[in-house]
Amino acid sequence: MYYETIKQLIRLAGRQKKPIGEIVLAIEAEQENESPSTIRGQMVISWEVMKQALDRGVTDNIRSVSGLSGGDAKLFFARTPKFLNPDVGKAVARALGVAEVNAAMGKIVACPTAGSCGIVPAALLFAKERLQIDEETIITALFTAAGIGIVCSMNASISGAEGGCQAECGVAAAMAAGALTELSGGSATMVGHAVALTLINMLGLVCDPVAGLVEVPCILRNAGALMQAFLAADLALTGIKSRIPVDEVIGAMREVGQALPESLRETALGGLANTPTGRRLRRKLT
């Protein structure tokens, strides 16, 4: 078995009547010549690290090495938001928190990168707590997310230096949306639409880290990307479809990424990094 596109994943899932996560797990096991339970066990270790970071992010007093970030997640977690549903507010705080832990040299799981490490864990913890989903199923959903990430990496990119932030926070959001859709009983086709709908909203996002540090805007984008994931999962579960097929959306992301000037691909020479304040912070911090 083998896949390179979301369409192939959907077809395999349909034929075997299994969730996408199970297909991705089986193929990984085959490729690595390991038993599925060994591979699953490795993912359990990653999930444990994710949970620790999710917890630390909203309880510890976090401060980054540069002093640019820390504390927002804890603050937001403690408040009842005015516009967001309270549970969604907590999840957003957690996404911020994991990203703050990362900025403060804490332990995280790159997902798909260190800069975008808060999105998938926060989405899955939300599913576990709010939708009462058991750990076993959460682990399967992590494979669903990973399969989506693999396809994006094969056909576009998961690196801000190559494809802008759409490739990091955008792909993380697509991974989260697909996993949430599957966890909520959505079909494999709906998972595909959730991925497409997310990426459509994230398309074109540039990578412009202030002073070259993975803090501003990275941490905030973890929150924004999670919101996009929730939105896309809800839309897809309602039966709303992307008018552009998912693999074509991923192709568009590649094209947009290639068209981005170098100044907006992690070089810290454009966008927010090149604002007067961004430049001042760079001088101060480097």
């Binding site: 991705v24 490729q31 090495v65 540069s66 332990k107 991974m175 911090l285």
Partner: protein, 223 residues
């Protein structure tokens, strides 16, 4: 950054933040340098070039390299305290920002390290993205290795037959070579050989090689 073909390249690595290219990769550069040195580090001059010089501090690249030199891995929570730990162990450290010129990758670091017995090396490494690295120079000689395989490095006098001898020893022990490269200062001068292998070399093979070369180092894969 290359295409991911494993689930754990997407969800992973488990690492200390904030940056896979500036923190996790820097730890690996330190780890490999320690393995090449083959003994505890007594003194290190760490030269940052390009983006490492610009953003290294905020990314904790200094702490990360020192953590690697102390033998910590990229998921070790002691990374952020590594400078203090190095101090306790009397490791002498000097950090410098340098400009190696445009020929060098924007994420380059050069290490001049000396061990407790006085053994010393110069190692130049780059971070190529996603936490992956490449060692590009060894004592001024260009080489190419990733640290992802079992690696053999030798420094030897450039004489005919040495390379053939080494590869035949390796194949006699049924070890598969994945990549190999050679370089030398000048004909007949000192030469370096770096071979990445799919399996570890047995101790007998290492012994045979030690009779042929001045320096032989075996480095296990560092993930």
């Amino acid at each position: 950054m290359g295409k991911a073909d494993s689930v754990f390249e997407i969800i992973g690595p488990i690492m200390i933040g904030p940056s896979s290219s500036h923190t996790a990769a820097a730890v690996r550069i330190g780890q490999i340098s320690l393995a090449i040195l083959g003994e505890p580090v007594n003194e290190a001059i760490i030269q940052f070039h390009g983006s490492y010089a610009l953003t290294g501090k905020g990314h904790g690249s200094d702490k990360a390299i020192v953590a690697g030199l102390l033998g910590f891995d990229a998921a070790d929570e002691r990374i952020k305290d590594s400078l203090a730990i190095a101090k306790q162990q009397n490791m002498k450290l000097d950090f410098q920002k340098v400009d190696l010129g445009d020929d060098y990758h924007p994420n380059t670091v050069r290490l001049l390290i000396a061990g407790v017995s006085g053994m010393h090396f110069e190692i130049t490494a780059i971070s190529v993205g996603g936490g992956n690295i490449s060692i590009v120079e060894f004592n001024g000689l260009p080489i190419q290795l990733s640290g992802e395989y079992h690696t053999l490095i030798t420094i030897h006098s450039d004489r005919p037959g040495i390379v053939a001898k080494a590869t035949s020893i390796i194949s006699q022990h049924k070890v598969n070579i994945s990549t190999m490269n050679l370089s030398r200062q000048r004909r007949g001068g000192l030469a370096a050989m770096a071979i990445e292998m799919d399996q570890p070399l047995p101790p007998e093979a290492i012994k045979e090689l030690e009779e042929k070369a001045q320096i032989v180092r075996i480095i296990p894969p560092i993930y």
